[in-house]
Amino acid sequence: MARELIIAKTVAEAVAAKTGSATFVAGGTEVNRLGSPNDADVLISLKRCSGLSDISTDSGYVTIGSMCTFQQLVESAETPEYLREAALFMASRTKRNMATIGGNIASLRSDSYLIPTLMAVGAVLEMAGKDGSSNRIGIAEYVDGNEVGSLIVSVTIPSEAKVVSKRYANTAQSHAVLTMSASLSEEGIWLDGAVKNVGLLHFCDLEKAFRDDPDISEEKIIEMVRSCTGLHTADDMFGSDEYKRYLIAVTAYDLHKRLTGKEA
């Protein structure tokens, strides 16, 4: 349990304070909650860090400060519609007033609200280095474990993109068993998802199937996911292994249809 709280006023201060036993706290919805896996000795609060809450647009891209709250994303005219939709997956406005985009990414939760959408559009993260440097990495790279623990300064995404998303949970407040996003680019469809207790996934096999045969049947997709050995779903309180695989398959099929305008 934390014994010390450092309130950083600048990014440089925050990064300098980050030692092995310290962790950043953004909005607090993850780190401060009951049952949080966080066991850091020192918390570095970013609430008063300047320059991390701006949203700006430049040459077809939107750059969002990591301390922007979900409610800011919902209210800002500069937020792309697809990201606003993902932010609204968090039903509670009081929680949206606290939770931040940077915090949601850094938590790397398997029921993440925003990561599937950000992965589907190939978001780029600006990270602050300890020596005052900054570097940019793709969100997929971050999800793979690179730079985890470093401070996310901003997130850059396209202003416009063809993206559709779907989230399944028992209630608006429950953890989602599946959140999936699909985007369409010149290369074809991109499919990313968050599967509860499994992780953040990029569905390359499904993408390939849709690219190879845009008219592939739903039955084939269901069978493909059902027999996929690389997908490590298991029975738990969120549903059976079979149920999760079925959900992934029909959702991927549905999102593909919506993106390509072939929905029934």
Binding site: M1, A2, R3, E4, L5, I7, V25, G28, T29, N32, R33, L34, G35, L43, S45, K47, A91, S92, R93, T94, K95, N97, M98, A172, Q173
Partner: protein, 183 residues
């Protein structure tokens, strides 16, 4: 002072306070344990039930996951601050009573504070918008309809629409005595 403690200065229910807090304390802990403002309820402690809602600088927050030290310089309102000097209830509190929007009462302070923010916004929200604005709160007793009706009626009264408020039926939907103008 040990690094584990900090002094927080803020305004709570219109009164300036200075409080030494453990840096690990939530705002809900400070309000309940140090200041005895027990209308602030701790329900889920993960920010999902809304029972701990307080108004900070005009907006609702879950105080159970909001660090007390973050309250520095902030203006905070709890349910205790809504009553008049003689203990008179505010209109939104009275509406909850009139509409039977309270059963066990555990969720009520949070609901009332969010409702207070809604009715003071000066906006006539649609039924759908009202439901979404209230969606950060869980109630296990009332079935929500009575709460919804209390909020809708008070919102309409705040907008000077007293007659329309009286026409909000048991489903929370406004019933018009005459055919709708566009018919």
């Amino acid at each position: 002072m040990s690094k584990q403690y900090k002094v927080v200065h803020c305004t709570i229910n219109g009164k300036e306070i200075e409080q030494v807090v453990d840096v690990r304390s939530s705002l809900a802990d400070m309000l309940r344990n140090d200041l005895r403002l027990t209308s602030v309820k701790k329900g889920c402690e993960v920010g999902e039930c809304g029972a701990c809602t307080v108004i900070i600088n005009g907006e609702g927050f879950n105080s159970c996951i909001y660090l007390a030290v973050w309250a520095e310089g902030k203006e905070i309102w709890t349910l205790e601050g809504l009553t008049g000097p003689g203990g008179e209830l505010s209109d939104i509190q009275q509406a909850f009573i009139d509409e039977g929007a309270i059963q066990c009462g555990f969720c009520s302070p949070g609901f009332i504070l969010t409702s207070w923010e809604i009715v003071n916004a000066g906006v006539e929200y649609t039924d759908d918008q009202l439901r979404k604005l209230l969606s950060g709160h869980l109630c296990r007793c009332t079935g929500y309809e009575n709460i919804f009706r209390a909020v809708k009626k008070t919102m309409l009264r705040h907008l000077g629409k007293f007659e329309e408020a009286e026409l909000v039926d048991s489903q929370g939907i406004t019933e018009y005595p005459e055919p709708m103008p566009f018919k």
